[in-house]
Symmetry: C2
Subunit: 137 residues, 2 copies
């Protein structure tokens, strides 16, 4: 008898995705700047279903205001190849006074000038759980 190990990708529903999003401290914003697509890590806070970022004056993410962007969080065990990833998609805009969440301004820079609060209004959330399964045959 031999055993083989396979990776399994299981889709996660929006409720599970939201629950996992709440466990993360840092996510990766995928947007388009003047040079094309890019990805930058940010700390974030949740304001109801919205994702709130505090970005510096020179952050490339300011160029993404008005864009439909993706914000990814994950937790991956690189050695065992297990974990999960969740992607929230929506429009990025400047926070209005109704936004009360105050995310940690990270990454920050000492001379970063005035920070802006940006809000990703989540229109769609999806995710995947990455498992391993041993099969005997």
């Amino acid at each position: 008898m031999t055993t083989t190990e396979h990776g399994l990708v299981e889709p996660l529903g929006p409720a599970e995705g939201r629950a996992l999003l709440m466990t993360a401290e840092i996510g990766r914003l995928a947007f388009t700047d003047g040079h094309g697509p890019t990805v930058e890590p940010f700390a974030f806070a949740l304001d109801d279903a919205a994702i709130v970022l505090a970005v510096g004056a020179r952050s490339g993410a300011r160029a993404a205001v008005g864009q439909t962007v993706a914000f990814e969080v994950d937790e991956i065990d690189v050695v065992r190849r297990t974990g999960w990833s969740v992607v929230a998609v929506g429009t990025l805009h400047r926070a209005g006074p109704e936004v009360r969440a105050r995310p940690e301004p990270w990454p920050d820079t000492v001379d970063d000038g005035e920070r802006a609060l940006l809000v990703l209004t989540v229109e769609r959330i999806s995710g995947r759980r990455l498992r391993r399964e041993v099969r005997r045959g």
Copy 2:
């Protein structure tokens, strides 16, 4: 005397970015599928300066062939808020016979059908080192 701790974002040059890319096992591909922007983690291999992925028949990344995409790798200490991130940008296409790199097919699925080798020809690489600095004042 008080001390304050600041985060510093230092840009990395292409050579440093390439060196850090070589240390990573898993990266995150930012592309656009039928629903809009999305991000998916993948194992990868390097073939000279190109990034090679082995994706399953049902992987959303197949929709990205022909697109300009971003592939991000990072190593972030979430507790200390230190680390680095690197982004490689270029066009994604199917691998020709000249591509010899054989990346681990991850994430894989048991019934994923025939895999395709996709190649990101890197046109631009950039990165940032994320440090903390204590200032006394």
